[in-house]
């Protein structure tokens, strides 16, 4: 792994939930997660719906005020004070290309907004040139600049969103399920574009997705989340070939393989029951209620991430 660009240490994000008559319960959306993203690297973050992936990405960028923990960007902690400055280096691409673009703005204004906010362009001509340059990065034509977002298809809209994130020349982009709202052929285009941009501009990504194949394709390393905790981090190929955590195992066994022979031969690991409510988390290991290896120790104590050789970290007592 190259030298770290973003270090997340013990990040916590709890949301207060009022349950009548002054009682407040905390919803632990992200509970004590730590990871690093290297310069120019892509870290994939996978997990099922509602496990806190998106919240992790948002509180990392301080779109929510984190409950605890810290984020260190390029050796400098990200705080509420220097956040405006930090936003020039950390950007975000959103999941839904339909609602993440203001319907009342032209493409030019959408992409130009970060330039205006940070006063990056001296005059109108410079601004216009920079916008056209950004549009050419993401494969949009100059004549698209005067149009409105609703005149574009989903894939094109996502390109606009990416161009907006690139406008400030960030070093790090959180991609919050950027392809899950697109259909498969467009997904491939957009993902290849992400890779090209990384090669050209050297940005690092935190790539959030629930599609393991997509994440494996784009990431160097993958982190697996379950109920607000990271249960396993490893190199993408290592995780794919030798998953250790039982949750990762079952996730991988659910990935469809376009070959009926293999599909027939392999064994699906089907999890029992549902994901527990994040309001009433099980004691100890969050996965123990659905884990076939669960023991008494799992209920008593929560396992921490331990290194199993060459940076493969797993949080499990039994494996």
């Amino acid at each position: 792994m190259s030298e770290p660009l973003v270090e997340v240490r013990n990040l916590k994000q709890y949301f207060p939930v009022k349950t009548g008559f002054g009682k407040t319960v905390y919803l632990k959306a992200v509970d004590d997660i730590s990871f690093t993203v290297g310069k120019g690297e892509t870290l994939g973050l996978v997990g099922e719906s509602g496990c806190g992936k998106t919240t992790a990405g948002r509180s990392l960028l301080r779109l929510y005020e984190p409950t605890g923990g810290e984020v260190i960007f390029d050796g400098e902690p990200v705080t509420a004070k220097n956040i405006t400055h930090m936003r020039k280096q950390m950007q975000m691409v959103f999941q839904d290309p339909y609602s993440s673009l203001d319907p009342r703005m032209t493409v030019e204004d959408i992409i130009g907004e970060p330039l205006d906010v940070h006063h990056l362009c001296a005059n109108r001509k410079e601004r216009r040139e920079r916008i056209l340059e950004l549009m050419s990065y993401v494969g949009l034509n100059a004549e698209h600049a005067r149009r409105y977002a609703h005149e574009f298809s989903g894939g094109q809209r996502q390109r606009i969103g990416i161009a907006r994130a690139l406008a400030v020349n960030p070093k790090f982009i959180v991609c919050d399920e950027p392809v899950s709202a697109l259909d498969v052929s467009i997904q491939a285009q957009v993902i290849n574009m992400f890779e090209e941009l990384q090669e050209k501009l050297g940005v690092a990504y935190l790539f959030i997705a629930h599609d393991l194949l997509v994440v494996h394709h784009i990431s160097q390393r993958i982190a697996v989340m379950y109920l607000g905790k990271i249960v396993e981090i490893a190199d993408a190929d290592e995780l794919n070939s030798h998953p250790i955590h039982p949750y990762t195992e079952s996730l991988l066994s659910a990935v469809p393989i376009p070959d009926p022979e293999i599909t027939r031969a392999r064994q699906r690991i089907i999890l029992e029951g549902d994901v527990p409510s994040p309001l009433h988390r099980p004691s100890g290991c969050p996965f123990r209620t659905r884990c076939r290896y669960a023991t008494e120790q799992c209920a008593a104590e929560c396992p921490t991430l331990t290194d199993r050789g060459s940076g493969h970290q797993v949080a499990c007592w039994n494996k």
Binding site: R87, S100, E113, V117
Partner: protein, 360 residues
């Protein structure tokens, strides 16, 4: 040589005659030809689209035309009609005492004599009132005042309501809670009582130099504006707060925050443009309600100061001779109806045209 390669066509065959095509027919399209195939639809903005739908609505279009006619009339008429609204009619410098309560298009005895002697006299389109003043020009000025009050009051309401509502809605939480309780308190004050009290108090306090626009409007009118500013903005503030609460949840607001935009910029550039349609519509509907309030206040006698007419005060003074001179009530009443009706219909049309949820 190309032609010889293609097989000779049987004259009875239904097949295409390939010899009639050259290779050029099958050449790939050039870049320019490809571009011609691109469907170029005109880029329509939200506003243009809304206006197009508005003009398709016959009721809204009619009321726009009607309002335009009224506006042109009240601007042009005072230039054409040789009488002033407070002028007591006179012929050749002599007061015309017979020109009292004339019916429309009639002349007093003095005027008839004057016309017989070769003089020219502008007809009294709506007749005259009990103080020998031309009624048409008084109705025109009354309309001016009523519309002026309507527009100004709704602009005051708009500005205060928009600022208050957007701050309350955007920041939410405790700020919202406190600001909305203040709104609730103001909402519960009886507005007529407040207007009457304020105009009494302000009558004592305010003294304007004669000749200024304030003096001509009179303290009652000023207090009406102040009351609008103090009381009537709450409805607008509530409406805009509600809009902002729902728009705030959109991802593009989060995107703007992730870019590093400050709250002021987000409200100005993203939130307000997106609830503009609601703002336009409720402002349009606010105008008739202000006109109505003014008419009512003038009718009960605490509106504009004499001799300045307003539609409400004209209707009020017409009550006295209602049996003999009904036209004096009919003219201002018709104009109030027309203005209020067409503004209401226009507001409805605007809502239908600009509300995306009502798309047909």
């Amino acid at each position: 040589m190309e032609q010889t390669n293609t097989p000779k066509k049987n004259p009875l065959s239904m097949q295409l005659d390939l010899s009639k095509f050259s290779d050029a027919s099958f050449a790939p399209a050039t870049e320019e030809e490809k571009r011609q195939q691109d469907v170029m639809s005109e880029s329509t903005t939200f506003f243009k689209d809304g206006m197009r739908k508005l003009f398709k609505n016959p009721l809204a279009t009619c009321s726009m035309v009607l309002l335009a006619i009224i506006l042109v009339t009240i601007i042009v008429a005072p230039m054409i009609v040789p009488y002033r609204y407070e002028e007591i009619l006179s012929v050749n410098g002599k007061r015309d005492k017979g020109a009292k309560n004339l019916a429309p298009f009639t002349y007093s005895e003095m005027e008839q004599q004057y016309i017989e002697n070769g003089g020219k006299r502008f007809p009294h389109l709506f007749g005259t009132d009990e103080q020998c003043r031309d009624y048409f020009i008084r109705v025109i000025y009354g309309t001016r005042i009523s519309l002026f009050i309507g527009f100004f009051a709704s602009i005051i309401v708009l500005i205060i309501g928009m600022l208050y509502g957007s701050v309350s809605g955007y920041f939410g939480g405790r700020v919202d809670l406190i600001m909305m309780r203040i709104v609730d308190i103001i909402y519960s004050l009886p507005d007529m009582l407040m207007i009457i009290l304020l105009s009494v108090v302000l009558n004592e306090l305010l003294h304007f130099e004669s000749g200024t626009i304030f003096a001509r409007l009179g303290t009652n009118m000023i207090s009406l504006f102040i009351v609008f500013g103090l009381l009537y903005w709450v409805g607008m503030a509530r409406l805009i707060r509600g809009q902002i609460l729902s728009i705030k949840e959109n991802e593009y607001i989060l995107a703007a925050r992730s870019i590093g935009a400050k709250p002021g910029r987000i409200i100005r550039r993203h939130i307000l443009p997106n609830c503009l349609s609601v703002i336009i519509i409720s402002t349009a509907l606010q105008i008739p309600s202000a006109i109505f309030t003014e008419s009512f206040l003038s009718f009960v006698g605490i509106g504009v100061k004499a001799p300045m007419p307003s539609l409400g005060s004209l209707a009020n003074s017409a009550r006295e001779g209602l049996q003999s001179y009904p036209y004096k009530l009919i003219f201002p009443a018709i104009i109030i109806c027309l203005i209020v009706l067409s503004l209401n219909l226009l507001g409805d049309g605007l809502r239908d045209a600009f509300d995306p949820k009502l798309k047909r």
